[in-house]
């Protein structure tokens, strides 16, 4: 009977066009959209070196820190080279270069350094922001020296540099916005498994459908029928995920690098979590199937929103103010697990997220079993 129901549930779910669209086609369509929309952004993200001019007057030469920083940022041997700097002695020459569009802007140091540009634009902004940042650092150092003299100056500079290094060392150097979007897509697909679980379970419940009544009056134990239906929906959901991975890896050439296995493991557990939400909602709410689907989508979407899948800022806002919500939010546990693979060199956070998901699944299973344990209804 178990196998019989399992095979027929596969057939029934497999022929449900709406479910198949959301499980198989929609993630692939969305993945294609991400590819088309974001890959160009990423390719254009690398900053081009652009020409600027600096009026090399006495004021400029007297600000050693400022001068040296620009020398570093225009050094051919520097990987992070930003500017091609032309040093001129007169402002008129720089102005003429600007008018001839030979440079993006120039820096003139009078009492304070001033950036002169001809128009607004990305390069113009970069020049302005970089200059402001150098001045800011210069000011911090000046303040320190004024208060503390030269004592332990070296240590202070080191601390400043260490702070900077900390951020750099703990983040992945190959950070990609598109990858984050693909992880989000996988997480969303995992949670869509809930609709399959909900639909599969609903068809077995006497208070939900006439078919359910017919199944419940049969001599097939409810436990076997329900379990085989859920397993069938899990398999279909996994096939959907598998197709998405094939599509991402072989067609869109997404490289999951060393963490491919971890991504797949988290996706499978995440998928189970999505399924568990669907099953729990189907078991606990005694409302029409459409209403149950509405509840499932609302819960899922709210979870995704709070997890920052629609704007990463929300994740930090929730983490900071009501952190416990994200600890029980499966959407957050999935995405956080993916992000942690991406951002950190260690897997500690990843494993915690995985454990959190397993606990969540356990709780959902207990809730579902308690709700499904009854065999007769007060009304149907």
């Amino acid at each position: 009977m178990f196998k019989h129901n399992f095979i027929y549930t596969l057939k029934i779910l497999g022929k449900n066009k709406v479910l198949i669209f959301w499980t198989f086609a929609f993630p692939i369509i969305l993945g294609t959209f991400f590819f088309l929309a974001f890959s160009d952004i990423e390719n254009n993200e690398k900053l081009d070196v652009f020409p600027i001019a600096i009026v090399e007057n006495d004021n400029f030469n007297s600000r050693m820190g400022f001068k040296e920083t620009f020398e570093v940022l225009s050094d051919d041997n520097n990987e992070d080279k930003l500017f091609d700097v032309s040093y001129v002695l007169e402002e008129d020459v720089a102005l003429e270069m600007l008018e001839n569009k030979d440079i993006v802007g120039y820096i003139l140091v009078l009492d304070e350094p001033t950036v002169v540009v001809a128009k607004s634009g990305i390069n113009e902004t970069i020049l302005q922001v970089t200059t402001d940042q150098i001045l800011s650092h210069e000011k911090v150092l000046e303040d320190y020296i004024r208060k503390n003299g030269n004592s332990r100056l070296e240590n202070f500079v080191k601390v400043m540099m260490d702070d900077y290094s900390y951020v750099l060392d703990n983040s992945n150097k190959n950070m990609s916005y598109t990858m984050v979007e693909y992880y989000t897509l996988i997480a969303m697909t995992c949670l869509y498994g809930g609709t399959l679980g909900l639909t599969a379970l609903n068809q077995n419940l006497a208070n939900m459908s006439q078919r359910g009544k017919r199944i419940e009056v049969s001599p097939s134990p409810k436990f076997k029928v329900v379990l085989s239906s859920i397993l069938a929906s899990f398999l279909i959901s996994l096939i959907g995920l598998f197709l998405l991975f094939l599509f991402l890896v072989f067609l869109l050439k997404v490289d999951f690098g060393l963490f491919g296995g971890h991504v797949v493991l988290l996706a499978i557990v995440g998928n189970l979590a999505g399924l568990a939400i669907g099953v729990a909602i189907a078991s606990c709410f005694k409302v029409k199937e459409g209403t149950k689907l509405g509840i499932l989508l609302s819960v899922t979407m709210l979870g995704c929103f709070l997890a920052g899948m629609m704007g990463i800022t929300m994740k930090y806002v929730v983490d900071k103010n009501v952190g416990w919500i994200n600890m029980i939010n499966p959407a957050n546990l999935i995405t956080d697990g993916f992000y942690s693979l991406y951002y950190y060199d260690t897997l500690t956070r990843y494993w915690w997220d995985l454990l959190g998901l397993l606990i969540f699944i356990g709780v959902m299973v207990i809730v579902s079993v308690l709700a499904l344990r009854r065999n007769s209804y007060d009304s149907i």
């Binding site: 027929y8 057939k11 068809q203 049969s218």
Partner: protein, 312 residues
């Protein structure tokens, strides 16, 4: 005869509303018992309680000598159910639907295949095996619904208004199928509010109203409960008040009702009333289009017992 269904003092409430009140009856092996009553009389609730789909407040239900419960799989394997609403999967073909539901009872694949084919023949769906439910007409869909409930050859069959919203041809086919099942020895509990069906297929009838038994017996026994024995209807007749008075004074007349152009006369006794009436009409020069006589129906019995029609 062996009792296969025994119900004692069954009471089911929906909050304060009593759907079934202190209901007791039994069904013998091979018998077709009809539960007759208007909508809301408690027929479907009774069946759902018998099948352990519904909890109930009081009473004992035994099927095949065993107390019925939702986990009594030994009893459940001998039960077939045809619900009022269509209970099939849109995603499966006619054959697959029957095979799926049969498979919940019969594990053996080969045996199941034989049973499925037999069920398809029984309901006359041989030409539609590969059709999907949405490709079937309402009548064919009802037949599929029945096949799904009886393919596993149950000993006891519960039929909950299986002919609702069915065309006359399909209804005849369905009723013929039920009679066929009866011939094969199945015990049937049949709920309906169509008295003609009950008269046609049931050995015994229980009339329910507001969750209570108001009468029971064979269709003939129940009809004998009626005070009237004959009902004569005359269509397209024009009458004066004096004519009506004269008709009322005729022999055996119980009641006369005249509505625009239709006259209905009920008689206490059922012999020679029609010829006497025709003679009277001729003598009084009263013209009419059609005249016909009927024996009392179960609907008349129900009307007498409750003051309302079965289909109200």
């Amino acid at each position: 005869m062996k009792k296969v269904i025994e119900v004692e003092h069954l009471t089911k409430k929906y909050k304060d509303f009593i759907a079934v009140s202190d209901l007791s009856f039994d069904v013998e092996e091979g018998e077709v018992l009809g539960l007759l009553g208007p909508n809301g009389s408690g027929k479907s609730t009774t069946i759902n309680c018998l099948l352990s789909l519904l909890n109930y407040e009081d009473g004992i239900i035994k099927i095949l000598g065993q107390v019925m419960s939702s986990t009594n799989y030994d009893v459940k394997k001998d039960i077939g159910v045809i619900f009022q609403d269509i209970a099939v999967f849109e995603e499966l073909t006619v054959y697959e639907n029957i095979d799926y539901f049969c498979g919940l009872y019969i594990e053996d694949k080969q045996l199941r295949k034989e049973y499925v084919i037999e069920a398809i023949k029984l309901v006359g769906l041989e030409d539609f095996q590969k059709f999907y439910p949405k490709q079937l007409s309402g009548g064919l869909l009802r037949r599929l619904n029945i096949a799904c409930g009886i393919a596993h050859k149950p000993k006891i069959i519960f039929l909950d208004e299986p002919t609702v919203a069915v065309d006359p041809q399909s209804r005849e086919n369905i009723l013929a199928g039920i009679l066929n099942l009866r011939k094969k020895g199945a015990t049937i509990l049949y709920t309906t509010h169509y008295m003609e069906e009950v008269e046609m297929i049931c050995d015994r009838v229980i009339i329910l109203d507001k969750g209570k038994i108001i009468a029971s017996g064979s269709p003939l026994e129940l009809k004998n409960l009626a005070k009237i024995e004959e009902k004569v209807t005359i269509e397209d007749i024009s009458l004066k008040k004096t004519d009506l008075e004269k008709i009322k004074s005729l022999k055996n007349v119980e009641e006369v009702s005249y509505n625009k152009t239709t006259l209905i006369i009920t008689y206490k006794k059922g012999q020679h009333n029609l010829p006497l009436l025709v003679e009277f009409l001729k003598k009084e020069n009263l013209e009419y289009q059609r005249i016909f006589s009927e024996r009392p129906t179960l609907n008349d019995v129900f009307l007498e017992l409750t003051g309302k029609e079965l289909r109200d």
